[in-house]
């Protein structure tokens, strides 16, 4: 008893000492900027190179804090709670409003204008994502609280080598396939290639949470009405899109079944050359360009409207409202987001599309472009791309609610329309609450200003 208590005491002591040691580490340095971001290895290397050039040009030292994507939000929140907010950091579209209302993000409208940045040459969607007028985010009139690190147009792609071998015509880069025509192609390439009686090559294999959007939108459906007050997932257009989506697996069998997808997910299967059609984001290029088959981009197949649709995401870079060096911090933000040399470093790493429209057009038109139809990314960026349904609402709880119970629909044991009718009131209640929270926060913000 005595001994164990002593041990417990020692352990407790060590824990206390350990915690103290941890908390004394880190924090902002006083003679330079701190920049916190997230990313994979390719991204880290590219950003480090860009930042080194920034230090060379301006003489401003930058202390870089990198975290892996899963931990970023927690780490940033911890730094905010500990009053050690980095001078410059990545900011999610969905968190912008609360960060502004809590006085964490600095209004950089004037500094950016003073630095002479030509915002018209940056994707409008990217810049507007970080504008906020106190009630609405994403409006051109709002004040600017960040610049896009990048925008992520989520295009659709295909394994060109596979289609060629199957004798299927390449999809037209400008005229989208209808759902029916696409299904025919899918059925044609879903085959047993080695003759062992089991299908080992599939038409496609999509993830409902990340790929359903295009289907719903091109069928005339949407998650909410225009002013984001009414959840509209219970419309026939939405239900039809979801049903078509799940039927690909459960009725037509042109995708790996759930067990097969669990064994090896469809992303891996696409890279292994087992899947014909698969979405492609700009961040995939660095990996896909190394694959041993040719791939290219195409518009997403379309439902009843005949108009293709895709989502486009964005991650922003913002400045802390409590930064000791606000001018240098804004300079770093504009450098990373808009400087030509910095952009070049990032583009060469194949992790994003250029932020500058002129550079992007050049990049897409290049003769050695890989994938050849890079233009599809730009079309999404300036033409048919849409923000994710929850990008500009106050929190995404209402949106996530749709996915929680969706499994039986995906498995084909529950009709889409029945499920959607059931989930709509729950989503509506959460959206109402989110809108209430937004209004309350904006009101408080107005009082403190």
């Amino acid at each position: 008893m005595k001994k164990s208590r002593l041990t417990a005491g020692v352990v407790a002591g060590l824990i206390v000492a350990g915690t103290a040691a941890c908390s004394s580490g880190g924090g902002g340095s006083s003679d330079g900027l701190t920049f916190m971001f997230r990313g994979g290895d390719d991204e880290k290397a590219a950003y480090q190179a860009a930042i080194d050039r920034f230090t060379e040009d301006t003489g401003v030292e930058v202390d870089v804090v990198v975290s892996d994507p899963d931990n970023y939000a927690t780490q940033l929140q911890a730094s905010i709670a500990g009053n050690q907010v980095p001078d410059v950091f990545y900011i999610e579209q969905a968190n912008l409003q609360s960060y502004v209302n809590e006085g964490i993000l600095m209004d950089i409208t004037d500094q950016v204008a003073e630095l002479g940045v030509d915002l018209d040459n940056i994707w409008e969607y990217g810049v507007d994502s970080y504008r906020y007028d106190g009630t609405l985010q994403g409006t051109p009139e709002g004040r600017l609280y960040g610049l896009p690190k990048d925008i992520g147009p989520f295009a659709f792609g295909y394994n060109a080598t596979m289609l060629e071998e199957a004798g299927v015509e390449r999809p037209d880069p400008d005229v989208p396939l209808s759902w029916d025509d696409w299904l025919e192609v899918l059925q044609e390439i879903t085959v047993d290639t080695d003759g062992d009686g089991e299908i080992d090559q599939w038409g496609t294999g999509l993830n409902v949470q990340w790929n359903l959007q295009s289907f719903v939108w091109s069928n005339g459906g949407d998650w909410t009405n225009e002013d984001r007050t009414q959840v509209t997932v219970d419309t026939p257009e939405f239900a039809e899109a979801l049903q078509y989506f799940t039927d690909l697996t459960t009725v037509h069998g042109v995708t790996p079944n759930p067990e097969q997808a669990q064994t090896l997910d469809t992303y891996q299967r696409f890279m292994a050359g087992e899947i014909g059609f698969f979405p492609v984001g700009p961040w995939d290029m660095s990996v896909y360009n190394e694959l041993d088959f040719e791939y290219d981009l195409m518009p997403w197949p379309v439902g009843t409207t005949g108009e293709t649709a895709a989502w486009v995401g964005s991650l922003g870079i913002g400045v802390s409202a409590t930064s000791d060096m606000p001018d240098e911090a804004v300079q770093l933000v504009t450098y990373l987001s808009t400087d030509e040399a910095a952009q070049e470093t990032l583009i060469e790493a194949n992790i994003q599309i250029p932020n500058r429209i002129d550079t992007a057009q050049e990049w897409a038109g290049a003769d050695d472009a890989q994938p050849a139809n890079r233009q599809e990314f730009l079309d999404i960026a300036e033409d048919y791309g849409r923000a994710m349904p929850a990008a500009f609402t106050y929190g995404a709880a209402w949106y996530d609610e749709l996915w929680v119970d969706i499994q039986p629909v995906v498995d084909g044991v529950r009709p889409a329309d029945e499920y959607l009718a059931e989930v709509q009131p729950r989503m509506q209640a959460l959206l109402d609450q989110s809108n209430e929270d937004a209004a309350r926060a904006a009101e408080q913000n107005a009082q403190t200003d």
């Binding site: 939000a73 067990e259 669990q262 929190g395 709880a397 729950r426």
Partner: protein, 324 residues
């Protein structure tokens, strides 16, 4: 345990006698000696350290959480006091109820695990060849990182190629797709928890069984008690304190299960069937920035665990016995 406590108590008694003797010999009217005061200062210093730690790391956070649960707070900015609104909202929050029910379901694994580990401990108590090897094998899961274990079990539960279904296939059973099936996901996770906890419980039971006085066993044997009767009437009551300890600590631990859920079924599993209370709390606090609301849930969970533990202590006291 009783045997180690005896010298400690004896030591205290001698210390008390000594200090009493010293007090008698102290000069009359002059208060206490310098040595005594000095010792008292040291004692206070030693006492202050844990007390300070308690105030700083337990009491303050708990009081803070109590207050936070009464506010609307996103974890970043100002807290707005809203009274019991968060608690009222809890009453109608279906997802919270569901996560509480899931958590209660996981507790089913505790009696199953205890029964198996007691049986294992009895087996390990015999003279077997390779006993240490077996003990080590059963203890390995305990020291394994929960993240690694969760990923391995995720593979084992794979619907197509998982070890579990392969094994069931040998028996002619077509196993379900465990983690993607709302009916089977909770039992799957419970099974894993049982497996992970076996070694620890077994070790404690083994120590308890070996502490059962041999004389009792011999006496019972002389009186003609069979193996089952000896187990029921002697071993089982003698290991009661260990059972009590394990039940209490495991209920507290299981009620806070999180890492396994987060790794094996990100998003809370099909139809939220695996989301534990702590998982739900974490999601509200860090994904939806509802820190105040999440704190209220945490307080409710904490109170429930406290009540359950209290009931257990009551029950244990009522049926406990002393062996003289």
């Amino acid at each position: 345990m009783t045997s180690t406590a005896t010298p400690a108590t004896a030591g205290l008694a001698t210390a008390a006698r000594r200090s009493g003797a010293r007090r008698k010999s102290a000069p009359p009217g002059g208060g206490t000696s310098r040595l005594h005061r000095n010792e008292q200062k040291w004692a206070l210093g030693f006492v202050a350290l844990p007390v300070l730690g308690y105030l700083l790391f337990i009491l303050y956070p708990v009081l803070f959480a109590l207050y936070a649960s009464l506010t609307r707070w996103n974890g970043l900015g100002a807290m707005e006091f809203i009274g019991l609104q968060n608690y009222a909202n809890l009453l109608t929050d279906d997802r919270f109820h569901q996560s509480m029910w899931n958590t209660i379901f996981y507790l089913v694994g505790i009696p199953i695990g205890l029964a198996i580990s007691l049986a294992l401990a009895l087996a390990m108590n015999r003279r077997l060849v390779g006993l240490t090897v077996f003990r080590t094998i059963y203890y390995i899961p305990v020291i394994c990182s929960i993240a690694a274990v969760a990923i391995l079990w995720q593979w084992a539960y794979n619907g197509d190629f998982g070890l579990v279904n392969q094994f069931l296939g040998l028996l002619g059973i077509d196993g379900p797709n465990w983690l993607a099936d709302a009916t089977w996901s909770k039992p799957a996770i419970t099974l894993m928890m049982v497996w992970k906890g076996l070694g620890y419980s077994m070790l404690l039971y083994l120590a308890a069984i070996q502490a059962v006085p041999r004389s009792l066993m011999e006496a019972a044997e002389l009186d003609g008690a069979g193996a089952w009767q000896r187990f029921r009437a002697i071993t089982l009551p003698m290991v009661r304190p260990v059972t009590f300890f394990l039940v209490v600590t495991q209920i507290i631990a299981s009620a806070q299960i999180f890492a396994e859920i987060q790794i094996m079924t990100p998003g809370g599993g099909p139809e939220y069937s695996t989301a534990s209370a702590v998982f739900h709390i974490w999601r509200q606090a860090f994904q939806y920035q509802q820190m105040g609301y999440a704190t209220a849930m945490a307080i409710v969970l904490g109170i429930l665990i406290f009540i359950i533990t209290l009931i257990q202590f009551r029950l244990n006291k009522r049926s406990s016995f002393v062996l003289d």
